[in-house]
């Protein structure tokens, strides 16, 4: 009859080896799982894409608010023009990065 302590010791050994192998494996594998390191330029592209998405989301909200009758046509048209100009500016900057 194997004692509980022996089982515990065996399990501890298995855990130690298993964790060790699991952690060291990436250093022996050919790389996969993560994209290339991002440069500073890619960081600013990210911010521009954020601005684009923010403006697009605002446009979507604006359209919903107008369709639901919460804002006047005048306010809707004015805000839509402003947002469209902003999206255009961001797209221009993104093209210059690309």
């Amino acid at each position: 009859m194997i004692s509980s302590v022996t089982i515990g010791l065996a399990l501890s050994l298995v855990l130690s080896l298993g964790v060790g192998l699991y952690l060291l494996a990436p250093f022996f594998e050919s790389r996969g799982g993560f994209a290339e390191a991002q440069s500073v330029a890619a960081e600013s592209v990210g911010r521009l894409v954020d601005s684009k998405e923010r403006a697009l989301r605002e446009l979507k909200d604006l359209e919903l608010d107008f369709n639901m009758g919460k804002i006047s046509r005048e306010d809707y048209e004015r805000a839509k023009d402003e947002l469209s100009i902003e999206v255009g500016r961001v797209l221009e900057k993104l093209r210059s990065h690309g």
Binding site: L15, L24, R31, F34, K70
Partner: protein
Amino acid sequence: MIEFGHFALCVAWLLALLGVVGGAYIGLSKRPLSPAFVEALRRVTIGVALALFLSLVGLGYGFVNNDYSIQYIWQYSNRAMPWIYKITAIWGGMDGSMLLWCGLVAAFCAAVARASVRYPRPLLPWLYAFLNSSTLFFTTITLFLTNPFRYLKASMVMPDGNGLNPLLQNEYMAIHPPTLYLGFTGLAIPYAFCMAALASGHMSNDWIRLTRRWTLIGWTFLTAGIVLGGHWAYLELGWGGFWAWDPVENSSFLPWLTATAFLHSVMVQERKGMLKTWNVFLCVLTYALTVFGTFLTRSGIVQSVHAFASTDIGWVFLTYLAVIVLIAVALVIYRRVDLRPERSIESLFSRETVFLLNNLVLLSICFAVLWGVMFPVFSEAFTGQKQTVGIPFFNAVNVPLFLALVFLMGVGPTIAWRRSSLKQMVSSFAVPLAGALVVAIALVSAGMTDFYPVLAYAISFFVVMTILGEVSRGLRSQSAAVLDGASTYSARGLARLFRRHRIKYGAHIIHFGVVMMTVAITASMAHKTEREFTLAPGERFNVGRFSLELIEFHEEEHANYSAVQARVNARSLKDDSVIAILSPELRFYPKNKETTTEVALRMGQREDLYLILAGVDETGTKASMKVFVNPLQVWLWYGAIIMVIGGVIVAVPVAKVSQVAGQSKAEVARSI
């Protein structure tokens, strides 16, 4: 096996330390990120969770196998307990509950680590560092200060344990603490994202989007955990209530308030690029409050019936809190340029303004509750005499603030983003406001003269009307073409509306749940009936619309307790039909020499009938009882369920418009 559990805890601690040190080292390093190191860190984070799971299994094994050589197992278990209660006894005391906390926070970190292959690369080392920092702190406490694997100091091998207190041998013990802890630990994730964004400088909206979803998950669990606790107290404790503003109850409520504020203000940041520093503050404050809450429970600094016996680990928590705050302040200063707002609020009459007001009200409630909790400490420090405040204080301050919050709940989703014209606002709010006024007048005419209940009902009506108005306007905004022949107000139209604007209408569901809870709390607090009476078999007592008839009472013997049980018919006063048969009990547990009451509860849509057997007279011929009639009580639990459903609906991820993470510049250019 118990030794294995202890060993696994040590492994977890070492891995968490490795995660923090490794993540910080790579984050601070100027060299390009090595994919192998980053992957190793990800695996470390997952490994911590695995090790802590095994540690919990080890402790659980000891409980199930009655290993009374371990002090903690002896304290909280005995042979007579069913195995399910032996499992729940793992978190019955402080040591095991800390281990559970560790396991759950690590599980959340592992879930994030698994998903992190898709996250922005520069964020990752610091993300893993901060994720593991939370686990490291709690495993340090558990391993070195509150170790559940300590051996029992006894001169002989104990044949049996002390046992879990009978009041805790209850199914709620299986669900309330884990759910609550899932809420607390889930709120460590947004903190890690926030700090990682500041530390790495990757400040784009990715972290906000990711943070919001994880905050929702933690918030939903915390909501469920808080309500489960209230429900358990209501069922078990026999005082007819569900919330006592106890310091430990409040400590779960505080992070809930700030997390709610964060979930709203983060929407302003996503749209306007504003409130960045404010959102960092809320994120850090929420996490700090979860740590503070567990500090309150374990330090003995304030008196609470829920607090653990006073220990000397309070200073460790305070030190950690100071470290959290200092690191956050340093990072905010370091990144102050990136935290500048990009836009400003254009109009007072806009959703952005209402969300800001919502934040101010929530933070006001938070600080008022914190003041109430810490008042004994402050009063003693400043005046030398310890004073305290109780339920009357919390009600006096929080009732008006909560009503203001509920009112804002009706205004915020209805008003437009950016700017609403006066004309549009009148058309949106005129009918709901008029309806609320009518309700108020009707209630006063019917004899209800208390100001706050009337106001609460009127505001609740206002909010429901605004929600219905939003749904109606949303349905009408859908053109016939997209409905493909279905009518405007059809189920298909509703389904499409909810699908396309899931977050907006999911939020409406949550708000509706809040309104239900508001009405239920108002009714059960303002119109509760409480009576004491003594009956002989065959006699009756009238209360509310019920006539309570005592049929009989008798003694019973069970395995580990004896009881007196009464049988009471609750009859309708109108037609004398039996609405319910109630069997309240008075139990005596000889092992601990403790007496408990088992409430007999009849939950109804109109009211709860809540009956407690207080005792039997000396002659043994009469039974004394106490009854509560709590109007609309069940709607509180329904409202909570609806809130949780709404939270799940909003938290489910959708496809993004575009993603920066993992995309090369060429891919981004192609997407334009």
